[in-house]
């Protein structure tokens, strides 16, 4: 039994895959950007767009207002593109994929082979800087859904990409978003045509494999009028002593009466027990409820990364649009998180809901930071925010920083926050009923997170529950 627990405590996705890589030369400069654009056979407009972002980047400063501090990143000492050699031009058929990569995804529990595919879930697999496989493409094609890598979309659907890329997160947005715009490598592209309810869950599985490499993924999801899509992303990385940067941009656009449900289960390598290594997860995620009656819902389960720094946000532009944010963030050992959301109410009758559950254990530190901004024109709008923090032990921290700007007297904002601790008595009670201490913590924490877990698609809710338990293992004496 003890042994089993020991095994579980280890980060089970920490292995590396030995594949030969093609890399861009080290360093952040125009040549690197040209290299990326060229190897992806991008059209000229795309390269120009990247270079424009790079020009802008030179004038920007890295932000420093966040709670978790980190040592200065040497951007010239990073690789910005790394791809398995024989995958740099994406194989047409999964059969042609490097068996080592297939094996990697199998180990991660994401079978890509035709006969073993996850039921009812289409997967785009991103390995370092490239998308290596996308499943169920034909089936989705039949209903007009486009689900492919962003690189492929740039070539095959340039009009959609041109129209929407950077429309929610402009290239001038902020340091990491601008950096991403200059050097993004791959990610997913989704377009749901008018009136189509996407027949299956779409998901992207991000894997960092190569060392000294930053991953700059770019995802763009467009839900046309009256359409619906549920999308899920998962992330893992090998165990390394170094800190690796993951700076992604995710843009969502929902037109009239459309709904996008975006779920994340983030389990990047968190570093070891002493805080060595781990991923810097600095991500910009923003959804635009562009049309009337549109809805965007973010659900995140953040258990990994050395530092998580992200605020999946909704811009509620269309009248009657709805934004939701459901979050579970767990930090253990030396992990740090500064996460939350922004709800920007621009349209009339817009509604937003924020449910945030933060759990900190060990020596970790957790901050919920959120903005609710109701503009003077957003009549009859409302927000409900609930932020709950759960502390385990006496050495961790939890902070709640809500910013509320209500410029409209016809609109209202409600905020509730609680902080609690798992009590020794609760643990004793569960243990007296036959659960060991880890199971007891898992049960109590899952109860604490229930409202958020319920938002996840069924298949992932079970996995997320287990992950919640595993992330906190070793946090009780």
């Amino acid at each position: 039994m003890k042994k089993e627990i020991e095994n579980l405590k280890e980060y089970k996705y920490g292995f590396t895959t030995d594949v030969e890589n093609i890399r861009a030369p080290k360093g952040l400069n125009e040549d690197t950007i040209k290299f990326i654009s060229e190897i992806k056979k991008e059209p000229k407009w795309m390269l120009e767009w990247r270079l424009k972002a790079f020009e802008r980047l030179k004038k920007l400063k890295e932000p420093n207002w966040q709670k978790p501090k980190y040592p200065k990143i040497d951007y010239q000492d990073l690789y910005y593109y790394s791809a398995p050699k024989n995958a740099s031009s994406k194989p047409k058929d999964i059969k042609d994929l490097d068996p080592k990569i297939l094996e990697t995804y199998k180990k991660l529990g994401i079978p890509l082979e035709e006969q073993k595919r996850l039921n009812g879930i289409a997967v785009d697999a991103v390995f370092d800087s490239v998308s290596v496989a996308t499943t169920f493409k034909e089936k989705l094609n039949d209903v007009g859904v486009i689900f492919c890598s962003i690189s492929e979309a740039i070539q095959k659907h340039p009009n959609l990409v041109k129209k929407y890329l950077g429309s929610v997160i402009p290239i001038t947005d902020h340091y990491f978003a601008t950096l991403n715009s200059a050097v993004f490598t791959d990610g997913s592209f989704v377009y749901i045509p008018e009136g189509v309810r996407c027949p299956m869950e779409l998901s992207t599985y991000f894997r960092i494999n190569a060392s000294q490499t930053g991953q700059f993924e770019r995802t763009l999801i467009i839900a046309d009028k009256g359409s619906y899509v549920s999308y899920l992303e998962g992330c893992t990385a090998p165990m390394r002593d170094e800190n690796q940067l993951h700076a992604a941009n995710v843009e969502l656009i929902a037109l009239d009466d459309a709904e996008i449900k975006y779920s994340t289960v983030q389990n990047w390598y968190p570093g070891d027990e002493d805080g060595k290594g781990g991923i810097y997860n600095f991500v910009t995620k923003r959804g635009l409820c562009k049309g009337t009656n549109s809805k965007i819902s973010w659900t995140q389960v953040e258990t990994g990364s050395a530092i998580t720094w992200k605020y999946p946000s909704c811009i509620l532009k269309g009248d009657n649009s709805i934004g939701e944010f459901y979050s579970i963030a767990i930090t253990n050992n030396h992990q740090k998180a500064d996460t939350g959301t922004k709800m920007i109410h621009l349209g009339k009758n817009t509604k937003s809901k924020i449910i945030s559950k933060g759990i900190s254990a060990g020596l970790s530190d957790m901050t919920y930071r959120g903005l609710v901004d109701i503009s003077s024109k957003a009549n009859n709008s409302s927000n409900y925010t609930q932020c709950d923090s759960l502390l385990m032990g006496n050495k961790c921290g939890a902070h709640t920083v809500p910013y509320i700007k209500n410029k409209n007297s016809k609109s209202n904002v409600a905020h509730e926050a609680t902080t609690s601790k798992i009590s020794e008595d609760q643990l004793h009670y569960c243990q007296q009923r036959g659960l060991n201490s880890e199971e007891a913590v898992g049960l109590i924490v899952n109860g604490f997170c229930k409202e958020v877990l319920q938002q996840l698609p069924m298949e992932f809710a079970v996995e997320a529950q287990k992950l919640v338990g595993i992330s906190l293992e070793g946090s009780v004496g």
Partner: protein, 244 residues
């Protein structure tokens, strides 16, 4: 079944149990009565494995040294504590808690775990017997339950887990007369030749419904007198003062 020899227990250097001795054989019902602060709850806490006590002496449960067993291992062996103050666990469905508990114990014993349907049938039957409203099984564990409901929930758990030794820590306190009868019926239905009970109480009242084989008077961490059921009646008349 349970043998306690010279148990001494301290908390923060304050001596609570002093050379405490007790032996419970299979099928016996023992009642421990005593005033506030006599060490009754400390005894149930220590038997269940609660940390924070400085203990010496020996506790054997079916010849196994209890001090070497974790709290959950004691539960797996068949020790059950009906808590004086059952804990609330927000977000955890009562049914799910019960199923998790039962299956954790079954698993540890190498028995077949119950699937959702088997469990539901079992819990429905038991809840009916105890007049525990089924609707409450779908509520968060003990959250918003009245004092009486919490105590009944403890007895429901006991009847599902079928422990060898059940310790009832002031289960009667806060119960109205109807609830008291239901709790007593629950205990009595579990009374078999292999199952034993340790009932901790202030009052003789519960013992009208659950007839003990032995009654012990606990004062200042020591058993001052032991006897049959008649001792409880004597106590009620004389009060604890006379045993000091």
């Amino acid at each position: 079944m349970l043998k306690i020899n010279n148990l001494n227990a301290k908390i923060k250097n304050k001596s609570i149990l002093k050379d405490f001795k007790l032996e419970i054989n299979p099928g016996e019902v023992h009642a421990i009565m005593g005033p506030n602060g006599s060490g009754k709850s400390t005894l149930s806490n220590i038997l269940s494995g609660k940390k924070g006590y400085d203990v010496s002496g020996e506790i054997l449960f079916e010849n196994k040294n209890l001090f070497k067993l974790e709290t959950e291992e004691r539960a797996h062996e068949g020790i059950f504590l009906a808590f004086q103050y059952p804990l609330e666990i927000p977000g955890v469905n009562t049914n799910i808690f019960l199923k998790t508990s039962l299956n954790a114990i079954k698993k540890a014993r190498g028995e077949k775990e119950l699937d959702a349907l088997e469990f539901l049938n079992l819990v429905k039957k038991k809840a009916k017997e105890l007049k525990f409203e089924e609707e409450k099984l779908n509520r968060q564990l003990n959250v918003g339950f009245s004092g009486g409901e919490k105590k009944k929930n403890e007895i429901l758990q006991m009847s599902i887990l079928q422990p060898k030794l059940s310790i009832l820590d002031e289960t009667d306190s806060g119960l109205d007369i109807d609830a008291l009868r239901i709790v007593a019926d629950g205990v009595n239905s579990l009374r078999k030749k292999d199952n034993s009970f340790l009932i901790i109480t202030h009052y003789q009242r519960l013992l009208d419904y659950i007839k003990p084989d032995y009654v012990h008077v606990l004062i200042n961490g020591k058993i001052m007198k032991s006897g049959g059921p008649e001792l409880a009646i004597e106590l009620e008349k004389k009060g604890y003062e006379s045993y000091n």
